[in-house]
């Protein structure tokens, strides 16, 4: 049993309760025991001095690729969750597009168990929408939920068949889970390796137009409206996409959505020089789109910041641009990039940022997380919002290094990550 832990003297921000004040947080028995001033430490308790730091509910990332089973040289459930802890995340949702895919209860149980065994962060699997991610017939959604799945998605294999998507949304209602959707009409983006625009024209790379994303966002919003199901739009990258979601929310459609740190901090110019670390799907888009995503995170149209952490082995990215796989990693840079680009640059208040990275994603997926309410799981992140640090991918806990942020100087990072009352990550001097 973990010893009680008293986190002393921090600025406690709990967006789930609108709490923002100097306070202590006492964690006992894996639960939040008390939040208040001048709390006494119980016998045998450890203490963590959080003076000058921010103490908040543990960060939640609803879009992570852990590559296990099948892609263990890129990442494992253990290394991915260790990277999560290092980045301040206490809860991560694992995408099902592994090899074999997570499309039955046994596979869901495998991911949950491996996450629990590693013990670095809570790992919640998403199950596949369709058997084998083939887009043909529904996977055993109920059984997967029973085994621990918190949502369903075919992720990088968008559900093309609108009828199947309708069934998924309707059937998902029975279990009150969201259907997460990677919105991409492949017949519009086929062969593309980056955003369609000025840069792709100059570099001679095939572009993926905004419309490839917008058309499917529109479809999924209509289907959510039709069925009353919960749709979660993943990694929104276009101006029009943010507008569609904003309009749908205003109409009362049950939709949540996420924006990624790379899409609100980089444009397709990052691809210049055929930089494969900036090759990601959906692609980095124009400055106008980047600003729209940033504004949508700021106004809450995008409820969550998610990383779409997509590890790839170095030799896979060390190829000609067209031949390199899509994806970049983000667990260890997400907080720093988000703090720097959103809070330091004054687009978003610190409590709102924590909402987008903790309470918002937890609510979107119905997770028992994202709050410091009494009795809640003792998942806490301690953040030094003033820390200036330079990203050095060589020091990552992730098994992969494919980040476009290597060498960036960022402001703010997690100095301690606590899961179930146990410190799973601590920077030097944090304890």
């Amino acid at each position: 049993m973990t010893r009680p832990l008293l986190i002393r003297g921090g600025r406690v921000i709990d967006p789930s309760r609108g709490f923002d004040d100097a306070a202590d947080v006492l964690l006992v028995g894996g639960r939040v025991e008390a939040v208040g001033t001048a709390l006494g430490a119980p016998d045998g308790a450890d203490t963590l001095d959080a003076a000058g730091k921010v103490v908040c509910p543990g960060l939640v990332d609803v879009h992570v690729h852990l590559r296990e089973p099948g892609g263990e040289r890129k990442e494992t459930i253990a290394t991915g969750s260790l990277a999560a802890a290092a980045g301040g995340f206490t809860t991560i949702c694992a995408m099902p597009n592994t090899d074999p895919p997570i499309d039955d209860p046994a596979a869901v149980g495998f991911v949950s168990a491996a996450g629990a065994r590693a013990g670095h962060a809570r790992v919640f699997p998403l199950g596949a929408v369709s058997v084998g991610l083939a887009g043909e017939r529904l996977a055993p959604v109920g059984e997967m939920v029973e085994a621990g799945a918190v949502g369903i998605t075919d992720d990088g294999h968008p559900v093309y068949d609108a009828g199947l998507m309708r069934l998924a949304l309707e059937y998902g209602r029975s279990f009150d889970i969201p259907v997460a959707s990677h919105c991409e009409v492949r017949s519009l983006s086929r062969g593309g390796s980056m955003n369609e625009g000025v840069v792709s024209t100059r570099l001679g790379l095939t572009g993926m137009p905004n419309a490839a994303e917008d058309v499917m966002i529109a479809r999924d919003l209509f289907l959510a409206e039709l069925t009353g199901g919960r749709v979660h739009i993943q990694h929104v990258t276009t101006k029009r996409g943010t507008e569609l979601i904003r309009d749908a929310k205003a109409r009362g459609v049950t939709v949540t959505a996420e924006g990624t740190p790379h899409h609100f901090s980089l444009t397709d110019e990052a691809v210049e020089g055929y930089q494969t670390h900036a090759k990601v799907n959906p692609p980095l888009r124009s400055e106008q789109d980047r600003r729209a995503v940033l504004a949508a995170v700021a106004d809450g149209t995008l409820d969550c910041i998610a990383t779409d952490h997509a590890p790839h082995h170095y030799d896979e990215k060390e190829q000609a641009f067209d031949d390199a796989p899509f994806g970049l990693i983000g667990l260890e840079t997400a907080l720093g990039v988000s703090l720097s680009r959103l809070v330091v640059d004054q687009h978003l208040s610190l409590p709102d940022l924590i909402h987008r990275m903790s309470t918002g994603p937890a609510r979107a997926f119905g997770l028992n997380a994202g709050t410091l309410a009494l009795g809640a799981p003792a998942d806490v992140t301690v953040i030094d919002t003033a820390a200036s640090w330079t990203v050095d991918a060589r020091t990552f806990r992730s098994r992969s290094r494919n980040t476009p942020f290597d060498g960036w100087t960022l402001t703010g990072r997690a100095v301690a990550t606590i899961v179930g009352g146990a410190v799973v990550h601590a920077m030097d001097g944090a304890e």
Partner: protein, 319 residues
């Protein structure tokens, strides 16, 4: 070793007008070698060059090979089929192996945009891009520029229209950069399905109708319509393409009398260009082929450290 052109020739986008003109001037100097009974000078004697063709090409590879041999380089041709590439070796492994063999220059053709640059950044040898994906094909554009200059005496102020599949064309991009850098006005013409999304941001006009393009232009550079584009649905049929975008003698009647027609070859006669145009008085297509060897000699010479002004002297004997 930094040379007048830098270490590599990846494209024309980042070359200065002075560098482009120096290549053309040097090529003029080297043209004469191909007219000699013994077509060989010792400019690159002792240099080893690998022609690394990951994509099938006949005329570009042969043109480079002639250029290399006429400069007395030792050459090796590597085709993707039959090489370790077919066995799954990656481009970076190929690069490392080349580096280990201490070769001096690599001429690379690859289906991926950026592949030439990728290689150039990883090996100390000089790299010449012989076409990468749909990005650039600089020596083709240089020979086009040389051919135009030969016939019109200048590039500056000319109106040049590139006709056809600009979307998939590396030739078009290199031509656009080179022509703009030397002061030409540039336009493109073709079906909108075969134009890049933001083609006008390259600094060119876009004619939707071939008749307008022909009326406007001093020079037409007609691109090959690759037949797989039709199968992929970019154009409904070859017949329709010819009817709306083909360059025919009838259409040329509206052109200025001294309009030049270029084509990088190989041609689809009766599709993008009619035979009576290809073989007619406006066509300079075979001059392009001749100039190709001279341009490639000039590029190899300059990358090997030759100075533009010393080209004449460097040619030496062999007559």
């Amino acid at each position: 070793m930094p040379t007048f052109l830098g270490k590599d020739l990846i494209g024309l986008e980042h070359l200065s007008a002075e560098q482009i003109l120096a290549i053309l001037d040097t090529a003029e100097t080297f043209k004469e070698i191909s007219e000699r009974p013994i077509k060989k000078v010792p400019v690159l004697r002792g240099k080893t060059i690998v022609n690394l063709f990951f994509e099938p090409s006949t005329r570009t590879r042969i043109s480079f090979e002639f250029a290399e041999k006429r400069l007395s380089a030792d050459t090796v041709n590597v085709a993707a089929t039959g090489s370790s590439v077919a066995k799954g070796e990656t481009l970076v492994d190929t690069a490392r192996n080349l580096e280990a063999m201490r070769i001096d220059m690599v001429v690379i053709r690859h289906s991926a945009s950026g592949a030439a640059r990728f290689l150039a950044e990883r090996i100390p040898s000089n790299v010449v891009n012989a076409g990468d994906g749909r990005h650039e094909h600089p020596t083709q554009a240089l020979l086009d520029l040389l051919t135009i200059r030969d016939h019109r005496g200048r590039i500056d102020g000319l109106k040049v229209c590139i006709v056809g599949d600009v979307l998939h064309s590396r030739v078009a991009r290199s031509n656009i950069w080179g022509l703009l850098r030397l002061g030409a006005e540039v336009a493109v013409c073709g079906p909108a399905t075969l134009m890049p999304a933001a083609v006008e941001t390259l600094g060119v006009r876009f004619f939707r109708r071939i008749e307008e393009a022909i009326e406007w232009a001093d020079v037409l550079n007609v691109l090959r319509l690759q037949l797989e584009r039709m199968q992929a649905g970019y154009v409904p049929s070859l017949r329709e393409y010819n009817r709306f975008f083909g360059v025919s003698n009838d259409r040329l009647a509206a052109a200025s009398d001294d309009i030049l027609v270029l084509h990088p070859g190989p041609m689809n006669r009766g599709v993008e260009i009619d035979s009576d145009v290809a073989d007619g008085p406006h066509s300079v297509i075979l001059d392009q082929v001749t100039n190709g060897v001279a341009v490639r000699m000039a590029v190899l010479y300059l990358l090997a450290g030759g100075a533009p002004e010393a080209a004449e002297a460097a040619k030496g004997g062999g007559r």
